[in-house]
Amino acid sequence: MHGLMQRGMSRVLERLLPEDVADAIVGDLAEEHALRVGTMGSRRAACWYWGQIVRSLGPVLRTAFRSGDWVPAWVVGFVAYSFAVSVEAAARAAVAPVATHTAVDAIPVLLLYAGALVLAARVAERVRTGAALAVALVVALTAVVHLVSGGPMPLWYRLVFPIVGPAAALAGGALFARRSRCAA
């Protein structure tokens, strides 16, 4: 599980930073994590590792933004996000006439929205590296805003979406990356 999450984190860093820098950071974390497993045990070493990841995100994001490479990725990501939101709105409108006015009505909307996010993020990543991550960040931000401020969707939808939405966008990016690696 830890190894799987390590690989996932590497992918995120590779999207944010130049490949050699991301490589060095992931390698440094792996090296120090291995040292700490010997001195403090695997559980505490894993806590240290994830603490480092969480605390590193701020400085890494600031560095990525300063580099300027992120502006096009954000623009592409925002266009892709707008497409997915349009699909969600269309799905909601389509469901409305046959709605049973129960929490179940939101299930097809969630599935369509998640599917649209996977597709949009995949295409966005193809257009610009890092765009899928931008989509995931925008989705996460808007999902948290909806969770706090309320809205037309049921509570379960607003609770689930902050996890499903960004995961769908990241899955879209990963799908494109996987296909690119296979083609290479």
Partner: protein, 111 residues
């Protein structure tokens, strides 16, 4: 005359001093550990690399990629070294602190 951009932030000074101490062996892990050992500050690796990126952009530090190793999951190290401009900026910053704090020891020790 020292310009505003010549002044280093405190973290930049600490990272540069760590690079000077470590010499050839300066890379992410050793820099982070050296700072933790000498200052007690448990910095994140992201903060170290963000500072190094700033210093590299200013021409104070240069870096080169090493060979990938097994204990790093096949990832390469990134070695850093301080350039002459970095040493000059470090000396200027240290001098500025010394000048500003000269004669003040009694004052802050009495409070």
């Amino acid at each position: 005359m020292t310009t505003r951009s010549d002044f280093l932030g405190s973290l930049e000074q600490i990272v540069l001093l760590a690079l000077v101490r470590l010499g050839e062996d300066a890379y992410g892990v050793t820099v982070r550990m050296e700072i933790e050992k000498r200052t007690g500050r448990n910095l994140s690796i992201g903060a170290i690399y963000a500072t190094l990126a700033r210093l590299e952009a200013k021409g104070y530090v240069s870096s080169q990629t090493g060979e990938p190793t097994a204990e790093r999951g096949g990832r390469a190290k990134r070695h850093f070294r301080v350039e002459a401009a970095g040493l000059r900026a470090l000396r200027a910053s240290q001098r500025a602190i010394e000048n500003m704090s000269a004669g003040l020891r009694k004052r802050w020790e009495s409070t």
